[in-house]
């Protein structure tokens, strides 16, 4: 069963507008969340993260919001730029085995920003 869900496989936005990417999770034990961005033929790169003790974290054009009661987080990109076109993965920190840093990833949302 998917513990981290990104229900929108794709999103298309006009340049300059806001992009909102959504992510839902099922495990209330998750206490840290990350967003990664991935271009084709490259590895994912870290974008922004949020601890469960916060409800918002900002970094430049990127803001992540966390609603723990709804088990929902969202990534806002304002303003969107064509270079933001990529696949965005939501991830939650999990604990299993001996590792203290496993991440569970969603399936990704492909963002297309049109000029």
């Amino acid at each position: 069963d998917q513990q981290v869900k990104q229900n929108s496989p794709s999103l298309s936005v006009q340049e300059g507008r806001i992009s909102i990417l959504n992510c839902d999770y099922t495990n209330s034990m998750f206490d840290y969340f990350l967003w990664y961005k991935k271009y084709p033929a490259e590895g994912p790169t870290f974008l922004i993260s949020i601890s469960s003790i916060k409800d918002k974290n900002e970094d430049g054009r990127f803001t992540v919001f966390l609603n723990k009661s709804a088990k929902h987080l969202s990534l806002h990109i304002v303003p969107s730029q064509p270079g933001d076109s990529a696949v965005y993965f939501c991830a939650a920190k999990a604990w299993y085995g001996g590792s203290q840093g496993n991440l569970i990833f969603g399936k990704g949302t492909k963002l297309s920003v049109k000029p």
Binding site: K93, S99, N102
Partner: protein
């Protein structure tokens, strides 16, 4: 800058061949991971290691094995490649003691099994 390198960007192998994918990180990270990425399925964890000579199964370990003889190097082995192992393989590493839990990824290896 953290650097995670993977031995090949593109690889074509035949069914039944033994395949080695190598990953090296230069940041003295304790944890290393192998994922595969397939369209519509996201990133799925194959194996991970939190110390030299330690390994643990991820979500889809069948048909794969790993080796970690040195801290900086983590190898993924396909014992007998099959067409359903055609995929993008991504290696990642991270610190154990960290407040950010960020994993650093390599550029990926696009493996095609024919």
């Amino acid at each position: 800058d953290v650097k995670v390198t993977q031995s090949s960007r593109y690889l074509v192998k035949r069914t039944g061949e033994k395949v080695f994918l190598e990953c090296v990180q230069d940041m003295d990270h304790e944890n290393m991971f192998w994922y595969r990425q397939d369209p519509g399925l996201g990133l799925r964890l194959i194996y991970f290691s939190y110390d030299v000579k330690m390994k643990e199964k991820g979500d889809i370990p069948e048909g794969y094995s790993v080796s970690r003889e040195k801290k900086e190097r983590f190898s993924l082995i396909l014992e007998s490649a099959s067409t359903n192992q055609t995929s993008m393989y991504l290696c990642a590493s991270s610190f154990t003691q960290t407040s950010s839990y960020e994993q650093y990824f390599g550029p990926g290896t696009r493996l095609t099994v024919t």
